[in-house]
């Protein structure tokens, strides 16, 4: 869409700015892995020495393993359910002319703009009044709530890119609604579904604020990390863990975003050339 011929002169200062911006964005985060190799409990710049001890010690850290498994469980369930709800919602909004569509979509997107603490506190109050004990389940519920907007946004973009005449053609050729979905809609939307699953999983995996309010005796990984922050000797171990999490998140999210945005860049289906 951008007209290449319009701005031909490369803007050097802007280019430098863009690179510095990216540096600003990533470098602070890169200190975590950096210091996870530091041979000392205390931060010091430059590094005192190089060691992989802290990574090795992760292997024997039982509480951390437990927290990791909790996070994986919560993330898996939350991402699947949020994606399912997102599929239904995205299909309904993009394929049918619904009365009050914009209001409905804005309502579903609300959790994006409500501060995490408010959501966490409100849910905490509700659950305690109903009498539900705090546990991984309650955390999962909270995570589903905040993941659905992301799931819907991802899938809405994907559905909108999907020409509805495809589904009509399938129906015309003999498929009922169920078969249309399986044979046409799902294969074409699948990259978006995968992207949504990965994104929601990452969001849930890294989410701290709501988890903090809604957790019972079983911590998720971020909660575990937070609890370790007050102990200086645990610091490098935390850094090692953090570094691992960042690296994995980086790749998972990169893949998910690439999958999702491919559709927006018209990778699916080229135009007509007679």
């Amino acid at each position: 869409m951008s007209d290449v011929s319009y701005i031909k002169r490369p803007n050097r200062p802007l280019h430098v700015y863009a690179l510095s911006y990216l540096a600003f964005l990533y470098i602070p985060v890169l200190f975590l892995p950096l210091f996870s190799f530091n041979d000392s409990i205390y931060i010091s710049f430059p590094l005192k020495g190089f060691t992989t001890n802290w990574y090795a010690s992760m292997a024997s850290d039982e509480p951390m393993h437990a927290a990791l498994i909790n996070s994986l469980k919560v993330g898996a369930v939350a991402s699947v359910i949020a994606t399912l709800l997102g599929i239904l919602g995205a299909k309904a909004v993009t394929r049918y002319k619904i009365f009050g569509q914009r209001t409905v979509v804005s309502t579903i997107m609300l959790p994006l703009v409500i501060p995490g603490i408010v959501m966490g506190v409100a849910l905490l109050i509700l659950l305690s009044r109903i009498g539900i004990n705090l546990s991984l389940v309650t955390i999962t519920l909270g995570h589903i709530l905040i993941c659905v907007p992301f799931s819907m946004a991802t899938l809405m973009a994907r559905f909108e890119g999907l020409d509805s005449s495809m589904e009509e053609a399938a129906a015309d050729l003999g498929d009922n609604a169920w078969w249309v979905f399986w044979r046409v809609t799902f294969p074409m939307v699948f990259p978006g579904i995968l992207a949504s699953l990965l994104l929601c999983f990452t969001i849930s995996f890294d989410e701290f604020i709501m988890a903090f309010f809604l957790s019972g005796t079983d911590p998720t990984l971020p909660i575990y990390i937070y609890s370790q922050l007050r102990f200086p000797q645990k610091l490098p171990g935390v850094l090692a863990l953090g570094a691992c999490i960042l690296v994995v998140s980086f790749f998972v999210v990169f893949f998910s975003q690439w999958l999702q945005r491919q559709g927006e860049f018209g990778a699916a289906g080229k135009g007509d050339h007679a």
Binding site: M1, S2, D3, Y6, N11, L14, H15, Y17, A18, Y21, L22, F24, L25, Y26, P28, V29, F35, I43, S44, F45, P46, L85, L88, G89, K91, A92, Y96, K97, I98, V104, T107, I108, L110, L112, V113, I114, P115, G116, I117, V118, V121, A122, L123, I125, L126, D206, F208, I209, P222, I225, G242, I245, L246, S249, F250, V253, F254, Q257, W258, R261
Partner: protein, 310 residues
């Protein structure tokens, strides 16, 4: 012929004809079918937001007595919020920090978004992913990274010390409102870039070509065409950053210190050590109310401003 009579009616059965009439009505109403599909999602979301908030509102009118709640409705909590200088000071500080953060974030992100929208022609996808990706990774870890950088023994201090530029570590870096603003700006920058980028990308390039044709140089083209047209995205970004950061709790807890405490920390304490849930609820609602008022005023003002620009 009216709508109802055109359904294929089963010959004799009255009951059957009513249900098949309803079913035909359902099949004909696209809106109804759409809502049916939407209902699980909508129901979940509405319930998960409305019920908790309703309860929170109710609880804010209760009072905490020891370990129990006095469920008689009263405005004690709100009165205390209005009377006590602490709460209002914290609230104002939170608003200031968030405002500064939103402004800073938008200012530094705009040129970046502009670069990708106008100057990147190949591998745009890569740039977009790279500039938004940090936002999807652990918020906690990103805030903690700044603790490491700004700390007493942190990167900046030990770096400057080992280079011999300073004797004593700089104390003001960490545990201050400034630290909070910097950290928040860094954490939320990736979130701001996207709306600004989208609104810049949407600008019809032929408008800029027309402006050039009519005599405007690059600076004027930017000021008279690009900037006004990108303003909706900028306004949206500011709001999108402001609202969630007012209620941020992790950043002030890690890098704020006593001077950088924000309202969210007090709210959290009500549900922790202080154990005054109704007060916590009242504080949360007050915070949301003020944020809502400011946001609405902001939206109204920006709408007026964009109407002026046309």
């Amino acid at each position: 012929m009216t709508e109802g009579t055109n359904v294929a009616l089963a010959p004799a059965d009255q009951q059957g004809s009513r249900t098949s009439y309803l079913r035909a009505l359902f099949m004909r109403s696209e809106s109804l079918r759409g809502y049916a599909l939407l209902s699980p999602t909508l129901a979940v979301m509405l319930f998960s937001m409305c019920a908790p908030f309703a309860l929170m509102v109710i609880m804010s009118f209760w009072t905490q007595i020891g370990f129990k709640f006095d469920t008689a409705l009263s405005v004690t909590n709100y009165r205390e919020i209005l009377d006590s200088p602490i709460y209002s000071a914290l609230l104002i500080r939170s608003l200031k920090i968030s405002g500064a953060c939103a402004l800073a974030t938008v200012l530094i992100s705009y040129p970046m978004a502009y670069y990708v929208a106008f100057h990147v022609h190949r591998r745009k996808l890569l740039w977009i992913i790279l500039m938004t990706l940090p936002f999807w990774t652990s918020y906690l870890l990103r805030v903690f990274a700044w603790k490491i950088i700004l700390g007493y023994n942190g990167v900046i201090n030990s770096g400057l010390k080992s280079m011999g530029l300073i004797e004593q570590p700089l104390e003001f870096l960490l545990y201050s409102p400034t630290a909070v603003v910097i950290t928040l700006a860094h954490a939320w920058a990736a979130f701001a870039v996207l709306p600004i980028y989208v609104s810049l990308e949407k600008i019809d390039r032929s408008l800029l070509e027309a402006a050039a044709d009519l005599g405007d140089g690059p600076v004027l083209r930017f000021l008279r065409v690009t900037l006004p047209l990108s303003l909706p995205g900028v306004m949206a970004a500011m709001l999108l950053i402001f609202i969630p950061t007012v209620g941020d709790y992790v950043t002030p807890a890690l890098v704020g210190g006593p001077d950088g405490t924000m309202i969210a920390n007090i709210i959290q304490a009500q549900f922790g050590k202080v154990n005054n849930w109704p007060m916590g609820a009242a504080l949360a609602i007050s915070m949301m109310a003020i944020v809502a008022v400011i946001s609405l005023a902001y939206v109204w003002v920006s709408r007026k401003a964009t109407e002026q620009i046309g």
